[in-house]
Each structure stands twice: as C-alpha cells, then as structure tokens.
C-alpha cells in the first residue's frame, strides 16, 4: 500500500507536468475544437428513453434540419454534425456523456440538451471549459439570468436557453384570469418540483395574489395516475383547472376531470400543448373544447405559412419515419426545427472565422425576425444585457372537439421574463 501511495505521488507530479505540456500544445492550435474548414461538430444529451422520452423527436427534427442545411451548402462552407446521446433524464448520466462529448468527441458546443436537472449538472463544467451550452430545452429562468449574475456559486456566461421561461408563461395566464375571469376559483394540478413551482410563482404574480387559488395538488414526476388529486380539486369546489404537467400526467388529468363529471375552464402549461397527446386524451374521453394553452411556434396545420411548409418537406426528405408525427401535429418536431434554425442563424452571424468566442458574441446579439418556425411576427432577440431569446407568446384555445386543434386566442403578447 505504501508503495502505491508513493506511486500516486509520483503520478500526480507527472500529471501536473503533462498538464503543462498539453496546455502549451493547445495554445499553438488555431481553431477551437469541433471546427474544421468543412465541418462543425456539436453534441447534445436528450432523454431518448425513460420518463421524459416523449421529447425524443426534438433532436430527430434538429438533425433533419441540419441535414437540410448541409445539403444546401452548410454554414459558411461547413457542414454541421450533431451527436445525440441518451441520458434518460438522469444527471448521473448527463455528466459523463457531456464529458464524452467535450473531451472525447471534441464537440464545438453543446446544443439543445433537455431538462433542468441535466442542465444544472453540467453547466458548471461547461462554463469552466468555456464550452458554449446553447439553447437548453427547458423553460427555467437560470439560463437567462445567470450569464451576468452569480447563480449557485458562479456566473455562467456560456449558457443560454431558448424558449420563454415558465414564470413568464404562468404570469400571462394569471393576468388573463384576473382580467377575464375575476370570479374563477383556480385548482392547480402541478408537478411537485422546481418546474411546477416556478409556474405557480408566475401565476400568482399575474393574478396579483393567491386569493383566487382554491387549491393546489401536487404529484411526483414518477406518478402515473393523478386521480386522487383531480378528485380533491373538484371536491374543494374549484371551477378552473390549471394543469402544470408533462404530457403523461397532463393526459391523465384531462381525462380524469371529464370522467368524474367535472367541467372546469382548463388551462394547460404549453410543455404539454402537443397535439398528438391531446388527441389521445380526447380518444380516452376528455373533452378538450375550450382548453387554453399557449405557443410560440407557427401553427403546423397552416400549410400556407412558410415554416410549416418547409418543415414538412424537410421531415419528408430527411426523416420520413416521422412524417406521420408531423402530420398529427407533434410540435416537438417544429420546436426542434426552430431551435436548429436559430442555431444556424447564430453560426452565420458568428462569421467565417468561427470560434467559441465569436459564437458567444453572436448569441448575445441576436435579432432574428425571419425564423419561419416560430409564430409569425415573433422576434428572437438578445443583447449583452438580455439572455432570453424568446419573450413572446400567443395564447391558444382548443376547438373542434375530439379531432380539433388549438387556435390562436388574441394577439401575440410580449411576456418578458
């Protein structure tokens, strides 16, 4: 054992020396990792399996979009390669997989990785290594605020989110209810974690207080039934149903409400506003007419719009297996397109001499008005001070019964962050 201790000492010393040598060698290199004259390699972790695997079509769509861009010459002559790894929504897997992407596969940036906890588990590491963590697929506020201010011990300038954050969305519904339904008694069904609580915080802010909230019933992310909670909300006399859940429990909540003969006004967090899942709820007996949610994406069924038209043709050509999902209105696909397209725009404005630093500059100077996949009229905008790319939402309302869809409600709103 003593021998081993000595060896370890020698070893540590040797590693320090080796480390100097490596960093000296690194200084001689010109391009950042993952960049060659003809290619850009980026990577991301997604739950391809497990509880959150409903979102696995996002990276599929992103890859389809990159294939389309590559077929049209790439970005400044470089083709984009996107490595997608499965972390099953488990941070203990996100960390080694992200290290693999950075150290083994030498990616230029981490793109679109999904989930708050997986994001938090890797942002320290990525910022330490100055690897851009771009467009995290989660609506937490960390990603926008913490570029300039200290969060959990340090600043995270290399991290940026994409979609409008949860509190902003909750606040929008709160304001809507306070204005249009002043007598509503809101019963909240929420995932009992940071995601659910952020939403509620926004809702309370928008309402201007908690007096309209008649009850809150939480469920654990691993729960698969929410029957008891929905029964309790009905039993307490609530007449407005506010669902903060991912698709599995959102379906269960919608169906259960109808089955127990409760017909409240219903609000649905937009993470679950995904048409194929809502159709399943309808098939199982949920009545969806009048359900209110929101969106930041172009209406997929409006084929007259440029985005949905282009998106469908890209899926048809590069990911034909997903075409039926697209036609059903799986908005995760369009989400993936929108994110990928934003990324391509940022790469373009980062210029021919692409580096991590130039990408960061581009990411904080976005002013994109022509992303075809977001809701018409939206601007994707950031500045040195503002790290939230999307800050607008359109409210939507379901009509057309069991085969219907979400229709815009009112006008595009700026919701801030």
């Amino acid at each position: 054992m003593r021998n081993k201790g000595k060896m370890l000492g020698a070893l540590l010393a040797a590693v320090v020396v080796a480390g100097f040598a490596v960093s000296a060698a690194a200084g001689a290199h010109q391009a950042d990792p993952g960049i060659t004259k003809t290619s850009i390699t980026v990577g991301g972790t997604f739950p391809l399996t497990g509880v959150a695997s409903a979102y696995k079509t996002i990276p599929a769509a992103e890859n389809a979009y990159f294939a389309y861009v590559n077929a049209h010459g790439g970005v400044n002559g470089r083709k984009i390669k996107f490595d997608v790894l499965d972390d099953a929504y488990n941070p203990a897997q996100t960390v080694p997989l992200t290290q693999q992407l950075v150290e083994q596969d030498k990616v230029f940036a981490i793109l679109g990785s999904l989930g708050t906890a997986p994001g938090l588990s890797t942002w320290g590491y990525l910022n330490d290594h100055k690897v851009p963590q771009v467009f995290l697929a989660t609506g937490d506020s960390y990603w926008g605020y913490c570029q300039k201010q200290v969060c959990l011990g340090s600043k995270h300038p290399y991290t940026i989110g994409w979609q409008p954050d949860y509190p902003a969305e909750g606040r929008m519904y709160g304001k809507y209810i306070a204005k249009n339904m002043p007598n509503a008694k809101i019963g909240i069904l929420f995932q009992n974690d940071a995601f659910g609580k952020n939403y509620i915080a926004g809702l309370v802010q928008g309402l201007g207080g908690t007096s309209q909230i008649c009850d809150k019933e939480g469920f654990a992310a691993t729960d698969t039934t929410v029957t008891q909670q929905v029964l309790t909300l009905k039993g307490k006399g609530c007449d407005t149903f506010f669902i903060v859940a991912t698709p599995g429990q959102a379906i269960a909540g919608l169906v259960t409400a109808t089955k127990i003969g409760w017909s409240p006004a219903t609000f649905l967090a937009n993470v679950s506003n995904i048409r194929p899942f809502l159709l399943v709820a309808a098939q199982n007996g949920a009545s969806l007419d009048g359900v209110i949610s929101s969106s930041y994406l172009a209406q997929m069924d409006k084929t007259s719009l440029a985005g949905p038209k282009l998106g469908r043709s890209i899926i048809q050509q590069y990911a034909p297996a997903l075409l039926s999902d697209w036609d059903l209105g799986d908005s995760n696909l369009e989400y993936g397109m929108a994110v990928a397209s934003t990324f391509v725009s940022a790469l373009k404005s980062a210029g021919k001499n692409l580096t991590r630093a130039s990408l960061e500059t581009a990411l904080h100077n976005m002013n994109i008005k022509n992303n075809p996949f977001v809701y018409p009229g939206m601007t994707i905008k950031t500045s040195a001070k503002d790290g939230f790319p999307l800050e607008q939402l359109i409210m939507t309302k379901w009509s057309g019964g069991a085969g219907g869809e979400m229709q815009p409600l009112g006008k595009l709103q700026t919701v801030g962050h």
């Binding site: 070893l11 083994q104 938090l120 588990s121």
Partner: protein, 316 residues
C-alpha cells in the same frame, strides 16, 4: 483468511500497479470513467461485507450512496467544507444510518429484508423533493467546489485501496469470523457465544459507511451535483449485480465486478448490436442471469475453481 496466498498478493500488486500507472496511458475523459469503477468498487466491497460475509441481503444500498452524496454536496454548499473531510463525515453518518437500519433488520431475513431495503432505496430519493429547502428539491444541490478528473481518479482509487485494506483487516479478525459464523448458522453462532444483534447491526453499519463514501465520490464525479434522479432504484440493483458478478463472500473478484458495472455500458457502445440503443441493458441482464446460473460464486468462484484445478491436476 488468516493470510492471503502469495498468488493473491501478486495479483493484487499487479492490479494496484496497473491502476496507479493507468492515468499516464489514458485521456482525461477516461480517468473520470475509470474513477467511476473505483466508486463501484467501494460500494460493492461494502455490500459484499454485508451480503457475502454476514449473510444479510440489501437491495437498497443506493439509498446510503444518496445519503453520502448529499452529505458531501450540502457540506460543501453550506460550509465550504474540504471535500475529503466531507467523505469522512459521509462515512460516519452512513455508519450510524446503517446501524439504525440494522436494528429493524434484526427481525427480518431473506426476502423480507430484501423488501424492506428495496423500500428504502425507493423512498430516500423522494425525500429531497419533500424537504426541498434544505435538500434542494428537483433542482439538486451543487457543491461549492468541483474536482478535476485526475483528482477524482487519484482520490477514488486511493480511498478504494484504503477501504479494501480496512475491509480485509476487519474480515480476517475476530469480527470477520463472527460475521461468517452468523452467516453460516445463526444457531451455531449464538451457541458459541456470539452476540447476534451486535454483529448483524455492525455489518450493516460498516457496509452502509462504505456505500456512503462511494456516494460522496459518485457525486464528486457528477461535478458535485446531487439530484434525486441520480439515485434511482437501478443504482442499488447495479451494486447488487456487481457484487454477484464479483462473487459473494470473497474479496478477490471485486475489481472485476466493479469494472463490469462501471464500464460495460460505456465500452459496449461501439460494439454492433450490443451498442445499439438498449442492447447493453439486454447484455447486462443476460450476463447477470448467466453468471448466477453458471458461476454462482461469481468471478472469485471462477478463480477458486481454476486454482483447485491447478493444484489437483489428477482430477479432470
């Protein structure tokens, strides 16, 4: 088990030398990967002391890893405690928790103990969600400091070596003899004057303490981020599977068990079919079943069989 045979010492020395020299040959990334093997090594070692030596089963050691991991993350977050010191605290805290669990376990055995410990594995990761002010909820707990891959590799393996020697010392002495007596026959153990409650709870305490240290290192390996999803039931199952592959009741196969659990998912990625999505789960499960069917004593049993074969060349 009075004195290890020469062949075992030589094999151990070779393994130690390879582990000590490995960082020179591999990349930074692979150091982190092999550090995970050390984490599993410690956890499997601890579980083996409980299951293999004292004959009590646990399907819940992931719970102790969670306690150890959260201890490290929280102490670092709130008090900027030295990380090595947090490992010591995790060791002591989990030792106490293990003793506490060992008490009700005195009344349980076999499948009942399996169920109770399984319950523990399921329940503990839910607690941070309930007590989220202190335990961070689903947002997890981030330590104030993180460590480099080389630090992680060095400290993990050094800890593993220390705990291995400690375990070996415990098991070769009076305590170890008592454990084995309890395992082989409780009635005989009692009649030869062994205090059953003391030794059975002690085994739980020691093995939980090992799991706690493994948990600390596990969390340091996830950039110091402790979060409930990291400690799902599957983690407990992995440790148990690793212990079975290593061979219960022997210390000499643990490295193989740890490598099996720690490396298989990663290295199988590049193998066709197996490397396709979930092929590795299939192989993992299949191997466990096969090992139990064909090599019920695990890798250590295989080594023993080879040795017997060599020392008695006249028997086929």
């Amino acid at each position: 088990m009075t004195r290890p045979p020469l062949s075992a010492l030589v094999a151990g020395a070779i393994a130690a030398a390879v582990i000590a020299l490995l960082p020179f040959a591999i990349s930074d990334y692979h150091q982190a990967l092999f550090a995970q093997v050390a984490v599993f090594f410690i956890a499997i070692l601890g579980l083996n002391i409980l299951v293999g030596y004292s004959g009590q089963i646990s399907i819940g050691h992931g719970a102790f890893m969670a306690i150890g991991g959260y201890t490290t993350a929280i102490l670092s977050r709130d008090h900027h405690t030295n990380l090595v010191l947090t490992m010591l605290v995790a060791f002591v805290l989990c030792f106490v928790c293990g003793l506490l669990l060992g008490l009700p376990a005195l009344r349980l055995s076999g499948v009942y103990l399996a169920l109770a410990t399984f319950a523990l594995a399921v329940s503990v990761p839910q607690l941070p969600l309930k007590f989220d002010k202190f335990l961070g909820g689903s947002g997890g707990v981030q330590s104030a400091k993180t460590v480099s891959h080389t630090w992680l590799y060095g400290v993990s393996w050094l800890t593993a070596a220390i705990l291995f020697v400690l375990g070996w010392l415990i098991l070769r002495g009076r305590v170890g003899r008592a454990f084995r007596a309890v395992r082989d026959s409780e009635v005989a153990a009692v009649s030869s004057g062994i205090q059953l409650p003391i030794y059975k709870t002690l085994a739980f305490g020691i093995s939980a303490a090992y799991a706690g240290v493994a948990g600390s290192l596990f969390v340091l390996g996830t950039n110091g981020f402790a979060q409930p999803n990291e400690f799902q039931v599957i983690l407990s199952l992995q440790i148990l599977v690793g212990a079975a592959v290593a061979g219960l009741g022997s210390l000499w196969g643990i490295l193989v068990g740890a490598a099996f659990v720690g490396l298989l998912p990663t290295i199988s990625k590049d193998v066709p079919v197996v490397g396709s999505a979930h092929g590795q789960d299939v192989v993992f499960g299949l191997l466990v079943v096969l090992v139990m069917l064909l090599l019920p004593q695990g890798f250590a049993g295989f080594l023993g069989a080879v040795k017997r074969f060599r020392t008695r060349p006249d028997t086929p």
